[in-house]
């Protein structure tokens, strides 16, 4: 109990001065929000939005390490490739979603389960 209180006060005293771990904490929270969106949403487009949040969280990590972790520009190049893949993924996924809508008149992922039968 004592040590928990000490840890928390240490954390609060550490908070105001922004360092590497601050960016990592933001990215961890963004990642978790994205996972929550992917898991709980019914609408396929909102699932895609969750995926975008996850990719953005990964990008924050890459760029934070490129500045603080000695990864230099290599981290930023990796982030560029992540953005490229996110763009192509969004285009293809939305095309698939439009096709699903034309066939089933819905984009709710829990109702499109024909393969299960």
């Amino acid at each position: 109990m004592e040590s928990a209180i000490q840890n928390i006060s240490e954390f609060v005293a550490w908070l105001p001065k922004v360092q590497l771990a601050h960016f990592l904490l933001v990215s961890a929270l963004l990642f978790s929000l994205g996972i929550y969106g992917i898991v709980t949403r019914k609408n396929a487009i909102l699932v895609l939005m969750g995926v975008e949040l996850v990719l953005n969280a990964a990008n924050i990590n890459l760029i934070a390490f490129s500045r603080y972790g000695g990864l230099n520009l290599d981290g930023q190049v990796a982030a560029i490739f992540v953005i490229i893949l996110a763009a192509s993924e969004a285009a293809v996924a939305l095309a698939i979603v439009l096709n699903i809508y034309h066939r089933f008149q819905t984009v709710n992922v829990d109702e499109v389960s024909n393969l299960k039968e």
Binding site: V39, G50, R67
Partner: protein, 169 residues
């Protein structure tokens, strides 16, 4: 401990990012979610600027806000019956998901904090990132760069082919 401008700006952008990301995830209205995504992307771009990734911040705004978000809005508009102004969406199994995601967030944050709280000073000051990035894309990363261009072409053709409605040919 006095806060410098850098810290204050960081907290502003982090707050924008996380608040709008929670709007994306928790809002019942799809349009609100899409606009929350807009502010999330802006907040992340601000974090990139704080990390001295100026080229990536501009790329983020151009590609995510100008491309992906517009695509998402098109998707929303084309797949909801716009006549009824509902545009609502349902959720599945919220409470187990909340529980598991809280555990995930806690463990991730704990690992990040305990592993990296010692790193205080930036390892590198990156000035001209655009020039450096261009050179690296043409030398060290030329093969991934070419593969990325092929992937973009494949995605372009594939998306056009999948989204086309009549397929008689």
């Amino acid at each position: 401990m006095p806060m410098e401008l850098f810290d204050i700006v960081f907290y502003i952008f982090a707050l924008i990012t996380l608040l709008s990301a929670s709007i994306v995830v928790f809002s019942r209205n799809i349009i609100y979610s899409a606009f929350g995504l807009l502010f999330t992307f802006f907040g992340v771009a601000g974090l990139y600027v704080l990390l001295q990734a100026d080229f990536l911040a501009v790329t983020q705004i151009l590609i995510y806000v100008g491309g992906i978000l517009v695509l998402m809005l098109f998707g929303v508009m084309l797949t909801s019956k716009v006549i009824n102004v509902e545009l609502k969406t349902g959720t599945l199994q919220t409470w187990p998901a909340r529980f598991l995601v809280a555990i995930l967030a806690g463990s991730l944050a704990g690992v990040f904090y305990s592993t990296w709280k010692g790193v205080t000073a930036p390892a590198a000051t990156l000035t001209t990132t655009t020039k450096g990035l261009g050179e690296m894309l043409m030398t060290t990363y030329v093969l991934p760069f070419e593969i990325a261009s092929v992937i973009l072409l494949v995605a372009l053709i594939g998306a056009a082919l999948i989204a086309r409605r009549d397929r008689k040919a």
